[in-house]
Amino acid sequence: MRFIGLFSLAGLFIPAFFLTLWWSLIETKLAPHLWLALKIETIQILFWPSSFFLMAIENQGTGAALQTKIVSIIINVLLYALIGLLVWYGLKKQRWILYVTAGVIAIGWYKLLTL
């Protein structure tokens, strides 16, 4: 359970990191260096896949924006918890589950980065 808890915490803190640091501090300062901003955005997509939801906020009110952020973070926490469970199970019981999980994550990353 501790293993899954740690993964879940990572799923919570990664969006919090990108939301606070990226949005409030980096975004405008990185504008002249688009390539760097893109690299950071790529890392953000890899570690916070549901961040794509935030594109839906455009032209919406603050209520919808808050709802979207909460949903995006909750889905990320659940995703990390699931990965944590699979990794734990793979390490402790069935090693093949670990490889399948890694394969699914790799395919997911590929799909996300080609969006």
Partner: protein
């Protein structure tokens, strides 16, 4: 006596053009940004242009927003209509949309593509059509980025497919749209 004068003229001309190029380079105008870094394909016989601007997103949209203007720097962007069911948007369902001016957004990067009057007309026709009938917004395949791509495509300018505003403006800046 004429030869030294000719040399002097050449030296002065070289110094002036070098300084001018350095100044333009420093200001970001040098190279061929005015034709999307592709001067062999794009020409600017008329001074008309398409302006694509990447904006800071609203309310925590960390992906940003992108809009386009034809012969104007006042861009227009494609958005989900205000007040749509946000759950429907997130789950990838088609929702009502709107083409609205990007006034009030914070511009972060602008790329200008010099175009011909025909290209301008074709792109403006699609913008007018989208204003009248914006169709349905889909977060994953019909958003602000794809709308700009479609408008550019109407003018014969093809960009690599993406739904990420930042990636599209980068492709435009790097001359990847042909």
């Amino acid at each position: 006596m004429g030869v030294p004068h000719m040399w002097l003229t050449k030296i002065v001309a070289k110094a002036v053009s070098g300084a001018l190029l350095a100044l333009l380079s420093y200001s970001g105008i040098a190279s061929a940004q005015y034709v999307a870094n592709n001067p062999l394909r794009w020409v600017d016989p008329t001074g008309l242009d398409a302006t694509v601007t990447y904006y800071q997103g609203q309310n925590g949209n960390i992906f940003g927003h992108i809009g386009i203007g034809i012969n104007t720097s006042n861009t227009i962007g494609y958005n989900p209509a205000r007040g749509v069911n946000i759950t429907n948007v997130l789950t990838g369902q088609n929702v009502p949309s709107v083409m609205s001016p990007d006034a009030g957004h914070v511009p972060l990067k602008t790329v200008t593509i010099h175009t011909t009057p025909t290209q301008d007309q074709l792109m403006q026709n699609l913008i007018d059509q989208l204003i009248k009938n914006p169709g349905l917004y889909n977060l994953y395949n019909n958003n602000c980025t794809t709308a700009v791509q479609n408008i550019l495509a109407a003018g014969g300018i093809s960009c690599p497919g993406t739904i990420r505003p930042k990636l599209l403006i980068y492709d435009l800046q790097e001359g990847r749209c042909k």
